[in-house]
Structures are given as C-alpha cells and as structure tokens.
C-alpha cells in the first residue's frame, strides 16, 4: 500500500516571493478598474436618483440648475456612437490597407520605416490632432461635405437642413478615424504576418497571384482578428475627448444629418461642461461618464475576446 503524495517545486522562497509580487500587481489592476466603476456609480447616484436610470438613458438635455432640472444622455450617447462609426468607416480601410502593404508588399527596409512612422502617429497628443483638425482638416473637408450633401442627399445621412458644414459629427468622425489608424493598423499587421507560410506557399505553388494569396489565405485567416481590431478602434473612438471637443458644437438634437453643424459626444461634453451646473450637474456628468465607461468596457472586452480567439484557436 502506498499513499499518494504531492510532488512540487513550488516551495522555493524566491519563487513564492516573485509570484506574490506579480499576483498582487495583477489583482491591483482589476481592483482599480472595479474601484473606478464604483466611484462613478457612487458619485453619480444623486443624478440617477432624481430621474431614474431609464430616463437618464432615454431623455436628452442638460438643465441642472433652477427649479425644473432635466437631463439625460440619449443624444450624447447617440452622437458618440455616430462619431465612432464614422471614424471606423473612414479609418479602418486606411489602416487595413496600410497593414496589408506593410506586411505583404513593402520591401524590408521600407517596412521598418513605415512601422515606426505609424507608431509615431499613435503618440501624437490628441489635443494636437484636435487643433490640426480644426485649422487644417475642417476647412478642407467642408467642401467635400457639401459635395456629399448636394449629390448624395437621397441617402438620409447625407441630407442636411442647414448649410453650416463646419463643426459636424462627420468632421469629428473623420478626425477620430485618422486617430484610430495606428492601433487598428498595428493589430492588423500583426495578424497578417501570422498567416501560415505553408498555406501561402501552397497557394503560390498552385499558380496563385499575390492578390489571390491575400484573398484566399491571408484574409480568411485574419478575419476574426480584424473584427477584433475594428472593435478596438471603435473603443478608442468612443472615448476620444479633446479632439472631438475642439471640433463639435454640442447639440442635443438626435438627427441623422451628420454633415451639418451639431453632434456631441459623452467624453467631449464632460470635458466642456465640467464644473458647471452645480452639484447636480457634476453628478449628471459623472453619470454620463459611467455610461461611457461601461459602454467602452463592453466594446473592448468584446474586442479582446475576438482577437484572442482568432489567434489562439483558429482551427477549433
């Protein structure tokens, strides 16, 4: 008769110390995330208590002073999503195209240069992007926006009710689209470069052109990862604050007319209105922040799940 015993090398003091250190940092990150959420919920509670969560999410406006306060984030959330969607529509094709060029076509030296350049684009402060957007991009984009509204007005999003084309959700969206190019591009590039060499060569040996290899080997392999990178970009776009705040002129009207002046976003609105509106106003802004926090968290969580699955278990 023998009794089983656990054989382990885990008792080394050094290992235990190291593990405890790493573990506490890891847990700390998670605790911080939860603490931020809890803080937002606590501080915004007065605002929710006044009108209720549902009404906060479905009404629109921001009157927090006086006898009949009324506020809600519906329009802000709507415009946040609109700007983020415009950003993704504009930014993703550019990012994916750039990533394809870098990983599939660029000569080795040019590749290194391009990667560095794109990474540098990522470190440009967003306030710089905002200023550039206001003084350079906007004046040059207004003409294009007018062109769209004149020739494509049968599509509801391109129709307008006013002829002021500056400070629109469209221009903010294009600007944010440029800002998400680096993150989407670097994730896409990483995924393209992981497409198996064996399958690439298999296709080439069957007489495939480079374009065919990309279409039939690289893209099927990268599809899920690309979806993840798009969601990562969407998450960034939703949270973009300063650049959007510089461009848009906040409006509480929910409308499909993205080309005309108006639009807003939760993040930009908080930045613009912080410190105004009294105690209730602060609570309402924090509530809006909580909505944004949860929303971006969900989007990013979805993105990381998709990216991990696409790289890890593609054959499953």
């Amino acid at each position: 008769m023998s009794t089983p015993r656990v054989v382990t090398t885990d008792h080394l003091f050094e290992d235990r110390l190291y593990r405890a250190g790493v573990k506490s940092v890891g847990i700390g990150t998670f605790v911080l995330l939860v603490a931020i959420g809890a803080f937002l919920l606590l501080k915004s509670w007065p605002a929710f208590a006044r009108h209720g969560v549902i009404s906060f999410l479905t009404t629109t406006g921001f009157t927090t002073l006086g006898h009949h306060p009324s506020f809600g984030v519906a329009a802000l959330l709507y415009w946040s999503v609109v700007i983020a969607v415009v950003a993704v529509v504009v930014g993703v094709p550019v990012a994916v195209g750039t990533a394809l060029f870098i990983s599939e076509f660029a000569p080795r030296r040019l590749r290194a240069v391009l990667v560095t350049l794109i990474d540098m684009l990522a470190v440009v402060p967003s306030v710089i992007f905002g200023l550039w957007g206001f003084y350079m991009l906007q004046p040059n984009l207004v003409g294009f926006a007018r062109f769209l509204s004149v020739h494509l007005s049968f599509i509801p999003v391109f129709s307008v009710h006013s002829s002021v084309y500056s400070s629109s959700a469209f221009i903010a969206g294009v600007l944010v689209g440029i800002m998400i190019v680096p993150i989407v591009c670097s994730v896409a590039r990483e995924i393209f470069s992981l497409a198996p060499l064996g399958e690439r060569e298999g296709a080439l040996a069957l007489g495939a052109t480079k374009a065919t290899v990309i279409r039939s080997v690289v893209m099927p392999f990268a599809r899920r990862g690309l979806a993840g990178s798009v969601m990562l970009g969407l998450g960034r776009a939703l949270g973009e604050t300063v650049a959007v705040a510089i461009i848009v002129s906040p409006s509480f009207i929910i409308s499909p007319h993205i080309l005309q002046q108006g639009g807003a976003s939760i993040a930009a609105f908080i930045a613009l209105r912080f410190g105004t509106g009294g105690q209730l106003g602060s609570a309402a802004l924090l509530g809006a922040g909580l909505v944004l926090f949860v929303f971006t968290l969900v989007v990013n969580l979805g993105a990381s799940v998709i990216v991990n699955r696409s790289v890890g278990g593609r054959r499953a």
């Binding site: 064996g198 080439l204 495939a208």
Partner: protein, 286 residues
C-alpha cells in the same frame, strides 16, 4: 543522366515497377525538365553551385543527400518558388520541354501551374472543404467547374492521389480535419487538379506514418506515367522503391551543394562510381 533518352521524352520502354491497379485517364502529358548550370544564393551566400540534371519525362527522379546540401533549394528553383524567399538569387537555366522557365516572357504563375509542388508539411487550406481544396488551383486561375464536371474532376483527382475511398463521404468537411497522411494526399490531389506536366515533391512523407507513406509511394508510381515526378527524400529505401533515377547532392563544410553522382537508381545503389555515393547510400554518413 542517360543522354540517349534526352530527345525522346515519352520513351516508355521500361516496364513500370508497380502495376497500376485501375486504368486511369491519361489527361496530361508529362514533360521533361532540364536544369542547366543552376547556382543559388541566399542573401549573398552560395548554397548550390552549377548543378545540371536532366529529369526525364514520365519517370521518377529522386534527389537524395544529407540535410543542408541544397536539395530542397534546387527543387524550389525548378518551379520558381525559390524567388518567393526574400534574399534569394540564382543563376543558370531550367528548361521545361526545351523552354527556359526563367525566360523574360515566362510568367511565374503559369510556370507553377505546369510544374506543381507538394511540400514537406501538409498544407491544405484548413478553412476550405476537401472538395474546394481539390478545386482551389483551378479557382486561382479563374476556372470554376460546375455540376457533374466538377464532381468527376474531384473524384478523379482524389482517386489518383489514393484518397477518394477514404473521403468520398466527407467531401464537404474541412481540409484541416483530415489526418496528416490524408492531408498530404489531399495536397497531391490539389496539385494534380491543375493538370501539371511535372510534380515536385519535397520530402512528402517525412511527417507521415509508414502506412500513409506506402500509400503515397504507390501514388507516385501510379501518376508517373502522366506526370514527371521529382522527389526529395532522406529515406534511402524510399528512393530505391519509387525512383527510376537518382541524384546525390553533397555539400562540404562551408562549401555549396553539388551533385556528386547521378544515374539510374539501380546503378546508384548497386554499382556507385563515387566512393562517397557508396558511403551515403549504405548509411555510413549523413
């Protein structure tokens, strides 16, 4: 290699060592392939030097030799896969039915369709069905057979690759779900479907179990009548079993790979002229 047969590409005076079990439609014409003074470099480093070899039509030629002597590189030069590797360069000519595949008017995509390739590691397209894998080469060149024509083609190619009976009920499953040996035969079927005149095989059995290996060796013998086969192998028994001709590659220390001896498989194994050949085929080095 045998000079007198160079001008007659379809000479079939020798009986096939393994009789074909079923009559197969002859749909392709095997072509002879001639390498003429081929040298290759990777990032400026010479890896094979002036290799000349005649690969007779409708025969199986085995390239043997120890690892790192340039056999695979030479094989990849034969269908313009060499240039896919960054930093790869070459010199010399490769003649397919007398025409240089590196000639200025030759398109690499067209050349690769005529000189197909099976790789060491099975590489079916994992997200395509078995059927789509077989048809993939045709699809790449813009052809999409439909209906009965498609079914017949898929059946014929899988039969020639010795796989049809095993997968006929699973034509719609994904290529990645087959076993390793089946995947490799699927790759052979896929390569044959573009109706090449030459099939290059780079250690096609090195990742497979003995029964899959035997099945693929049978396939090589069966298809040789219609497709010229050039196979790289480390397995001496395999070279003896499947090939009509052999070429032994050797590379010295810091010296590029060259052909030491070439000739009929019988001569190489039973009556080698070079001492190094005798040592190698009898397992005394490498």
């Amino acid at each position: 290699m045998r000079r007198e047969s160079g001008a007659a590409p379809a000479a079939l005076e020798e009986p096939a060592p393994v009789p074909a079990p079923a009559p197969l439609r002859t749909v392709t014409t095997a072509s002879g392939l001639v390498a003429d003074g081929v040298s290759a470099w990777f990032s400026g480093r010479l890896v094979i030097e002036s290799v000349s070899l005649e690969m007779e039509a409708s025969k199986v030629t085995a390239l043997i030799g120890p690892s790192g002597c340039g056999k695979s590189t030479f094989l990849r030069i034969l269908n313009r896969m060499h240039e896919v590797t960054p930093g790869a360069e070459l010199a010399g000519r490769v003649l397919l039915d007398g025409e240089d595949i590196y000639g200025p008017e030759m398109r690499p995509t067209e050349t690769r369709r005529r000189i197909a390739m099976v790789f060491q590691k099975p590489n079916p397209f994992p997200a395509m069905t078995v059927e789509d894998n077989v048809l993939s080469g045709l699809k790449f060149s813009g052809k999409r057979p439909r209906g009965k024509e498609k079914d017949d083609l898929v059946e014929e190619m899988l039969t020639r690759a010795g796989l049809f009976s095993e997968v006929k009920a699973r034509l719609k499953t994904l290529g990645g779900e087959l076993s390793g040996g089946q995947q490799q035969r699927l790759c052979i079927a896929r390569a044959l479907a573009v109706r090449p005149s030459v099939l290059l095989m780079d250690e096609p059995c090195s990742a497979l179990d003995p029964s899959s290996t035997r099945r693929i060796e049978e396939t090589m013998r069966e298809i040789a009548e219609e497709v010229t086969v050039v196979v790289v192998t480390h397995n001496m028994q395999q070279a003896q079993r499947v090939s009509d001709y052999c070429a032994l590659f050797l590379a010295g220390e810091n010296a590029p790979g060259r052909i030491v001896e070439k000739g009929s498989t019988k001569d190489i194994f039973e009556n080698p002229k070079d001492e190094r050949t005798s040592d190698y085929v009898h397992g005394r080095f490498g």
